[in-house]
């Protein structure tokens, strides 16, 4: 039995090493990790607002190409958020004062989200993804890597309800900038959703009209 375990361990180790070589990712040392976390937390605490465009790629293995959608996002600390798709369709969602407001191509609806813990978690998740501060060890098992261009933080949800929605979240921070440039939501099937942020404006001027749909 011990022999089988040893073989399995070696095989796992081999494939892990192979994968990490392929992706050219190396695990951060504990000193690098603490330094990285400290810098991101410090940086994200200085984010009062953020405006950004994004492109979303939905990858489904059986399709010939990814489904591409794009739009923009406005965030105001601590939890005000407007996420809007503008191409190829219009869809926007606002998290404001415990309520969720949806405008689906002109079809508007609102509902109370304050009593729903799952929505609260999703809101935190999006805000965390945008600001980069998602280092909640109670909610996620977190591991840290870097490649030639980015730091990569990988989050595996611990709670069953979040596991239902997401298998793993990868956040890419450029080595030279402590703001999330890309988020990848991995599914256990190998399919994923990748969101690439563009034209990020940190602490840009925000008006109340940015949070109406």
């Amino acid at each position: 039995m011990i022999k089988i375990q040893q073989v399995l361990f070696c095989v796992t180790l081999f494939f892990t090493m192979q994968l990490s070589t392929l992706a050219q990712e190396e695990k951060l040392s504990s000193t690098e990790m603490e330094d990285f976390k400290r810098k991101v937390i410090k940086h994200s605490s200085g984010i009062k607002s953020l405006k950004t465009n994004f492109v979303q790629y939905k990858h489904l293995g059986f399709l010939s190409k990814d489904i591409e959608t794009s739009g923009n996002m406005v965030f105001k600390a601590p939890y005000l958020l407007h996420w809007q798709y503008t191409n190829p369709y219009q869809y926007s969602i606002i998290f404001k004062d415990g309520k969720i407001h949806i405008n689906d191509q002109g079809d508007k609806s609102s509902f109370d989200a304050s009593s729903n813990k799952m929505f609260e978690k999703i809101n935190k998740l999006i805000v965390g993804s945008v600001s980069g501060n998602m280092f909640d060890e109670n909610e996620f098992s977190i591991s840290y890597y870097k490649n030639k261009t980015h730091y990569i933080a990988k989050f595996v949800p611990k709670s069953e309800d979040l596991k239902q929605v997401i298998n793993e979240i990868e956040m890419y921070f450029p080595l030279t900038k402590l703001l999330v440039a890309q988020v990848k939501l991995n599914e256990s099937s190998g399919d994923y959703t990748k969101i690439v942020f563009k034209n990020q404006q940190l602490n840009a001027k925000i008006s109340t009209s940015d949070f109406t749909n």
Binding site: K58, L63, I67, Q105, L185, S189
Partner: protein, 207 residues
Amino acid sequence: MQKLAHQILLISILFVFTACGTYQPKNVVLTTTKSKNYINPYFSDITQDYVYKTSIEVFGNKLGGVFVIKKIDNQKHRVVLTTNFGNKLIDFEVSPTAFTVNFIIEALENKRLLKILETDFRLLLYPSYLVDKTFTGENQVVYAGKQNKGTVFLHINKTKNFLYKLSFTKKSKEKITFEFEEEKDTFVGKLIISHHNLPILIKMIKI
């Protein structure tokens, strides 16, 4: 979810006793009873990804998302529904004889709901329909044949020669209507699936 299941059951029972009128294609006359296969003109290109922005109204609840349909072999299609954010809600494969669920979120795990999806997408995605009646009118030709333990009526626009409506009937009552608009080759620009015995409406627009 149990509440939704009870609602589905109750409404199903109600509608069994309040069924709609007898279905008969209008302004057409029966011209032949010769059997033939009508090849489904839509969703048939194995190289094409059919992607639709979707809105679903089910028992008073609204759900927006993206439906993806892909023909994966001669008989089979793969269908995935995601939220607008890309989260997968359901992933299944359907053929004339099989229905396999690859993934479903817990909140949607409901036998009745799965049966509805199986019926709707099987009817929509049959590679061909065996028809044995042809009705002809001034603007349309209607083919009819037994399918899925009921009868399928395929309405073809005579001028433009395209399938614009599929009606599924059981015991002469119309149960489900599929309306097709803005077709281009095998791609339907707009698709509406409406149920006549359940409060379910699915609208799909090509993206």
